[in-house]
Amino acid sequence: MFTYKLHFIKPFLRKLFVAAPLLLLGSVAAAQQTGSAPAPSIWDNALALTMLLISLVLLLVIALLANVVLGTAKLHFDKQKKSGTAAKIVSILLLFLAPSILHAQNAAAEAVAPAGPSSIGGLTPLTFWVLAGVIAVELLVIIVMGLFVQRFLAKEKIAVAAEEGIAVKTKPSGFKVWWDKLNSFKPMEQEANIVLDHNYDGIRELDNRLPPWWLYGFYVTIIIGGIYLWRYHVSETAPLSKQEFEIAMKKADEEKAAYLAKAANNVDENTVTLMKEVTALDAGKAAFVQMCAACHGKAGEGSVGPNLTDDYWLHGGSINDVFKTIKYGWPEKGMKAWQDDFSPVQIAQIASYIKSLNGTNPPNGKEKQGDLYKENGAAPATDSTAKKEVVIK
């Protein structure tokens, strides 16, 4: 159909999906990066992204605080002074934004320059300190603003107390104060001022503001969304499912190799020997009853699978062959491979237990299948084909 014509859509959409939230983010650097080749850039660095995220969250906190400062200031200053404060705050915000823009340009520069030998967490010292500086400045702004709010509120309290001519009475609990502020609740007494003229079958609506933490939380999730898409699909610094799988498998192989290297567990079909200790045979029996009996019968007499107590074997009767059969299975004939279920020692135990069943002649034994095998006899006839199969596997 149209498919081949639309090949270009995927990369295009990729960019679109990422660009949209980033626009919300207002990041200048994003645009500079999208076109460039996947050279090592600041965007590939987890530390940088974390710091950037922190700085953005702090920015939101600042915006939130600025609101509060404006609100409290309003109570105290006349119009003229208030606009002065607003201007002050705007200039503070600009002061903050300036370094972040600067830093974005820095980042672009860093992307081109080869990474220097001395780095902090994979970042050049300059970038690191710029980012750290931005965060520090933001923290400072927050502290200053917090002090402002505290001062305004303290004044307000005194003023109210003076006006009413009484000492501050029945203080509400700290939690309630915090809770009301968090949601920017209007006191219940002032509710009449914010009732809208809507009336639907007697239901009225209030004109309350959006709870600030909710609104800024919404922004944060959008920012996280943007960064997520960026990391997985543009900078490609976070592993997608298949890469994650490869990483996990590599790690597992290393761990397994390390364990086997030092463990006495390292037995395979070439080195396995018949075990005769009672503990080993009991362990083999337990596993046999649990997993093998379903097909081979509780006593090895055979049902769906062949009889394991007679002298006839489909895939060889030596301890090495039995071990191999259990380990790799014969999937075409219904015998599954057990190497992911049992450790090599366990397989050796099961194989030894099976060998110990020879000649027990349980009731309901299945008819003989395969070739006659005698201990220390000639190599089983199927041996050569078996080897080939294993290679194919």
Binding site: N183, N208, L210, P211, W214, F218, F245, C295, I392
Partner: protein, 710 residues
């Protein structure tokens, strides 16, 4: 201005309310029954209709479409009339809607019982019922908009925005997801295949939760909660922002049901990020509900109706926070396919939907019968019983899900899987037992409510037509400057169109590229269409609802690859109409089952699973051994598949049954060699053929590759 006198239609509300209570109890009993089968497989009664695979869809369809559906209609028919200051547009349409919907429910239960299913979760109903649903939904829409257009209130209240968005989105979801190719009156194949079918299905499935279980109930909350609390709605602005944000973002989140599957990574990532962004819009509804109760918390202590609403809204908040958390890939890797998800949906189902319905009924019945509630104490006891029931239901399942996932993923130091699948199941059986205790408490509560409401109705007298008065709507509204959203609120058609645009965007941007961009589903040449016998066997697999317990999707995890084989690829499913990836692993994954066990193992296992794997909780399927395979349907099925683009040779439909018998005979002989005598024309033979085919294609490719290399 002269006021007009008119009458609200309470009779239709009463009927829908009765249906809500009836289907609620029926759906919960079905749920309890399937819950018991987890630890007592004999509760399937060895009878096809009552076996888990068929009863579970009956449970889900009953509670979603019958219980919550009727609850939605009860609330809408009551509140819409009052919010529009008008009687319903047409009594005839109201009754067509009511009886049509009840007929659909009965038809759904009957067909599912007999095994007529499309095999797509929450959309199992076959094509004639799909068409009926569409028609009745249109009737509902016409009736709703008719009422809105003749309203005596200039603006639409937020509840109505939610009703409108619900109506248009459910229509869109239902129609797109139900595209199917009929084979016979009660058999069809999904139009889409494999990865694409999965994406469409979960776009639908996720948004059925969003627009059938969430938005309409939010609408009900916006009417009944302020009414019951006698408080103004907390914030009009919050209503606006969370409404539009919710309906826009919700639609995108469907792919979070398919994380780590063969769905393209970009679609998975969109599912993740939009789920995260969904927290705030969802919580907007919760906050507006809970904050409306500011200054009325003393009433909550007295009034069972408000108690139900508070817990409902809180459960809504919990599950809409948990949902996005479950969408994070690292959490999803643990929770998906386990009982954690079952716990999660029941917080929403029992807590949010159930408690909203109960609260609404407790408020509505005394109002419509002009009396007071028969027993407040009984209602309060119902509340506590229900709440404790939810806790006892959910916590064991969270535990079970987490414990089982951990066991699945545990390896021994020497690199072997530590636990057999069955061990991980038997380990959590105590949790299954506890869960059914919680469910029982909840059900007892619901029965107490039915009794209480019955007694209430008895002591009052029903007001079938409630008198009301209002001035007619002025023809020309003022053209002065007004808040932008007030402008939309006066224009229902505009609101409808805007809603449609907003909800269509996410779906289009996710679905269209998946269909058109070829790289999303890379071709695997060794993947071939099913043989006729396998196709018949697959239809039996679908009919018995095997997908309700078995997945066919191996995720790229170390443990899954070790346990089941190579992880699943998008190209493997191109002939799967419908896909059968499943969403829950009560039993092991079956994607690469083919060749793992002999035919005779499957035969014995279907007759009595415990004979082959002691301790298994799978039901017996004795009827498969007795039923004759319906080979008459083979040609029609092949032709339907050809229409859907499956490359069977021209004219193969006529020859298919010959091939079918050859393959069936082969299986008959292989069974005979293991001392099992069965005629070749039994259903079990077809099912074995299908099970032995699973995952074979890609294994074949491996072999040819190795051979070529040699």
């Amino acid at each position: 201005m002269q006021t007009e006198k008119f009458y609200y239609d309470n009779k239709i509300v009463k009927y829908f309310a009765n249906a809500t209570a009836l289907w609620g109890v029926v759906g919960m009993i079905a749920g309890l029954w399937v819950a018991i089968q987890f630890y007592f497989p004999a509760a399937s009664l060895d009878y096809a209709g009552t076996t888990f695979g068929r009863l579970r869809p009956i449970h889900t369809n009953a509670v979603i479409f019958a219980f919550v559906g009727n609850c939605m209609f009860t609330g809408v028919y009551y509140s819409l009339q009052r919010l529009c200051k008008a009687r319903m547009f047409s009594d005839t349409l109201s009754w067509i809607h009511f009886w049509g919907w009840q007929f659909i429910i009965v038809a759904a239960a009957a067909t599912l019982f007999f095994g007529f299913t499309t095999g797509k979760e929450y959309a199992e109903l076959e094509w004639p019922i799909d068409i009926m649903i569409t028609l009745i939904w249109v009737v509902f829409g016409v009736n709703m908009f008719g009422t809105i257009f003749k309203r005596r209130e200039s603006h639409l209240y937020v509840a109505i925005w939610f009703y409108i968005a619900t109506w248009i989105t459910v229509a869109m979801l239902h129609i797109v997801n139900s595209f199917e190719m009929p084979v016979s009156l009660f058999k069809s194949y999904s139009w889409y295949a494999g990865v694409q079918d999965a994406l469409v299905q979960w776009w639908y499935g996720h948004n059925a939760v969003a627009f059938f279980l969430t938005t309409p109930i939010l609408g009900l909350m916006y009417y009944f909660l302020p009414k019951a609390a006698n408080r103004p709605v907390y914030s009009y602005r919050l209503s606006i922002i969370h409404f539009w944000a919710l309906i826009f973002i919700y639609i995108w989140a469907g792919p979070h049901h398919l994380l780590y599957t063969a769905l393209p990574d970009w679609a998975q990532s969109l599912g993740v990020v939009f789920s995260v962004m969904l927290i705030a819009p969802s919580w907007g509804g919760m906050l507006n509900g809970l904050f409306t109760l500011r200054g009325a918390w003393d009433k909550v202590r007295e009034e069972p109706v408000l108690k139900f609403f508070v817990v409902a809204v809180t459960c809504y908040g919990m599950s809409t926070f948990e949902g996005p958390m479950l969408s994070l890939k690292s959490v999803n890797a643990i929770a998906h396919f386990t009982d954690w998800i079952i716990g999660h949906v029941h917080i929403g189902g029992l807590g949010w939907n159930g408690f909203m319905a109960f609260g609404m009924l407790y408020w509505l019945v005394p109002k419509m019968w002009g009396t007071t509630l028969y027993s407040k104490k009984l209602a309060t006891n119902h509340f506590w019983l229900g709440t404790i029931g939810i806790v006892i239901y959910a916590i064991p399942l969270y535990w079970a899900g987490f414990a089982q996932a951990e066991m699945w993923k545990t390896f021994t130091e020497s690199g072997q899987l530590k636990f057999q699948f069955l061990e991980t199941v038997t380990n959590i059986i105590p949790m299954y037992i506890t869960r059914s205790v919680g469910g029982t408490l909840y059900l007892i509560g619901a029965i107490m409510m039915v009794y209480n409401l019955y007694k209430t109705a008895k002591k009052g007298s029903f007001i079938a037509n409630e008198e009301a008065e209002a001035a007619p709507l002025a023809k020309h509204a003022s053209h002065g400057k007004e808040y932008w959203h007030r402008w939309i609120e006066k224009r229902p058609a505009t609101l409808l169109v805007f809603s449609l645009i907003v909800v269509a965007i996410g779906g289009i941007l996710e679905i269209v590229p998946t269909f058109l961009v070829k790289s999303n589903v890379p071709t695997i040449t060794s993947v071939k269409p099913y043989t006729a016998l396998e196709l018949q066997g697959r239809d039996i697999y679908i009919r018995e609802g095997c997908y309700t317990c078995h997945s066919q999707m191996i995720r790229p995890f170390r443990d899954e690859v070790a346990r089941y084989g190579e992880y699943s690829k998008a190209g493997e499913f191109v002939y799967d109409h419908p896909f059968q990836w499943g969403s829950k692993r009560t039993g092991p994954d079956l994607a690469r089952l083919g060749g793992k066990y002999p035919d005779s193992w499957h035969y014995n296992h279907m007759l009595d699973p415990r004979s082959m794997s002691p301790g298994s909780i799978m039901p017996n399927y004795p009827w498969l051994l007795d039923n004759d395979l319906d080979t008459a349907s083979t040609p029609a099925k092949i032709r339907a598949m050809q229409t859907l683009g499956v490359p069977y040779a021209e004219g193969y439909d006529a020859k298919a049954n010959k091939d079918l018998m050859t393959q069936a005979n082969g299986i008959r002989i292989s069974l005979k060699m293991d001392k099992i005598e069965t005629p070749a024309n039994k259903e079990i033979v077809a099912l074995i053929a299908y099970l032995q085919r699973l995952g074979k294609d890609i294994k074949a490719e491996k072999k040819t590759e190795t051979a070529a290399a040699n």
